[in-house]
């Protein structure tokens, strides 16, 4: 089944972000984001007949969201693969809409982890074969991958820090970014060590926040308020759940999900104007740049050095400031979609990438486990 340009993202929104204060629930943020996304496209809540969500708070998230919002979907998908889930939902929504199983899909997420205690809320069970050694989930798992990349390819902590600095440079251009102060490579290197080689500035933020995306058929999208942003291609892959089962810590399953998405879209990495790569940790950006074909395997370190992925650089990466500096409300995948759509609609003001027609969205879930890639395009790409 080729889903190229069968559906479009027509409405997007963030909820309030950062720190929303006590006693708001994740469902409150979902409600807020959903209303904003519906308003964005001009559809009504009653139009939504497909519901997609994932959560660390709600065991049956689409049931909770449906109840809260008063939505009675005929198609419901709570695929749960960590932060990548929402990119997967976009893919699955396209298949469902194309098959006629629903017409207007709502994908939504919310978290109050910062106001709720300032720690990652995770539903992850401990692996009994890992738990006796007390790795700190999930940072230690990503640290192991970083250690291996450094050993195998000579990648340095300075190069990892370049990823955090580039994200911060973008965040400075985004009024909604949580951290906008100056950040240097030296600042990253001297920040508190968490799980070596990763320091706290190699790690994503802990914020509140949520978002919503409304997806419908290309036919219907053309009558709505915003220029449609088409789903040109998507692909999923996962090879492991726990880090000790990952075949090669320097190669993620993005090496499969990416080509699947490119193939459906009929584009390659050279065609991408904006790359939204799930940066839970600095090593992520580097691995995904390699696995998605923006540079050769092992070349991520040199590639990110010298401002390549900063504003004005050769490749626009994580233009909202990323999970590292914009917001990371436990799971961040939906906010990747929001930014990609904004870029393709040319709504990004100071951080707008000129002539952006193709955006790549790459979601990561678990511990480099689930990889989901989507390619989005403007009207010009049809």
């Amino acid at each position: 089944m080729n889903l190229r340009a069968k559906v479009a993202v027509v409405g997007i929104a963030e909820s309030d972000l950062g720190e929303v204060g006590p006693e708001f629930t994740p469902l409150d943020l979902i409600g807020q984001a959903t209303l904003r996304a519906l308003e964005d496209c001009g559809l009504a809540k009653s139009n939504v007949d497909g519901l997609f969500s994932a959560s660390a708070y709600y065991h049956m998230p689409t049931l909770s969201v449906g109840e809260y919002l008063g939505i009675r979907p005929r198609y419901s998908d709570a695929t749960s693969m960590g932060g990548s889930s929402f990119v997967s939902h976009l893919f699955h929504a396209a298949a469902a809409i194309d098959a006629g199983l629903c017409e207007v899909a709502l994908i939504t997420y919310g978290s109050t982890q910062r106001s709720g205690g300032g720690r990652l809320v995770t539903g992850s069970e401990a692996d009994p074969y890992e738990a006796p050694y007390h790795p700190r989930y999930p940072v230690s798992m990503y640290a192991l991958a970083a250690s291996r990349h450094m050993h195998q390819y000579g990648t340095t902590r300075e190069q990892l820090a370049e990823v955090a600095v580039a994200a911060r440079e973008w965040a400075k251009l985004n009024p909604k970014a949580f951290m906008r102060e100056d950040l240097t490579v030296e600042d990253v290197l001297s920040s508190r060590q968490v799980s070596s080689p990763l320091s706290v500035r190699d790690c994503c933020l802990v914020t509140d926040g949520g978002g919503a995306a409304i997806v419908t058929s290309t036919e219907r999208a053309r009558d709505l308020a915003q220029p449609p942003v088409y789903l040109l291609g998507a692909g999923e892959a996962h090879w492991h759940r726990n880090i000790s089962q990952m075949p090669d810590l320097t190669v993620s399953a993005a090496a499969e999900s990416g080509p699947r998405a490119y193939s459906m879209a009929g584009v390659g990495p050279e065609d991408v104007d904006v790359a939204m790569l799930y940066d839970a940790f600095t090593i992520n950006t580097m691995l995904f740049l390699e696995d998605l074909g923006f540079c050769e395997k092992g070349e991520g370190g040199p590639f990110v050095s010298g401002g390549t992925i900063s504003p004005g650089g050769e490749l626009a990466v994580n233009t909202n400031g990323g999970g590292l500096s914009y917001n990371h409300p436990g799971m961040y995948g939906l906010l990747l979609i929001v930014e990609a759509v904004r870029q393709l609609r040319s709504e990004c003001d100071d951080r707008q990438v000129p002539y952006a027609n193709i955006a790549l969205v790459h979601g990561n879930g678990g511990v480099l486990s689930s990889q989901v890639t989507a390619v989005l395009g403007s009207e010009n790409t049809l």
Partner: protein
């Protein structure tokens, strides 16, 4: 100590540990080495996994030093055992930051907790 089809893999593994041994599985059908223990071979899909015990010799594949508010950092490693499987563990007896990828290590059972925990020490060191 061969596992019959009816024995839970986690239980067999634990009994190996209690006797000071690190058990792993080899698929009698396709020859793949499998860890953690299961009923089904993840390579060929057959239920023909047979137990073997490891020499306990391995090499550090990846390492991290986990820092905490109080106390020294501790290490978490992935070790490649010479039989061809990988597991999470820690290298005991050396400062966390001194553990290096490529370091040769050998198994040592840690009996300090409720259940024995397989850890590793640098090869050639007696403690």
């Amino acid at each position: 100590m061969n596992a019959g089809a009816g024995e839970p893999p986690a239980g067999v593994y634990r009994r190996y540990l209690e006797s000071g041994l690190l058990g792993f599985q080899r698929c009698a059908s396709c020859g793949a080495v499998v860890f953690y223990p299961r009923l089904v071979c993840p390579y060929c899909g057959r239920p023909d996994l047979a137990w073997q015990t490891s020499s306990g010799r391995g090499v550090v594949y990846a390492t991290t030093a986990v820092h905490r508010r109080e106390g020294d950092p501790y290490n978490v490693v992935l070790v490649d055992l010479e039989e061809g499987f990988r597991m999470m563990s820690r290298v005991a007896g050396v400062p966390a930051e001194d553990v290096e990828i490529g370091m040769r290590v050998r198994l040592e059972m840690d009996y300090k907790g409720d259940e024995p925990v397989p850890v590793f020490v640098p090869e050639g060191e007696d403690r």
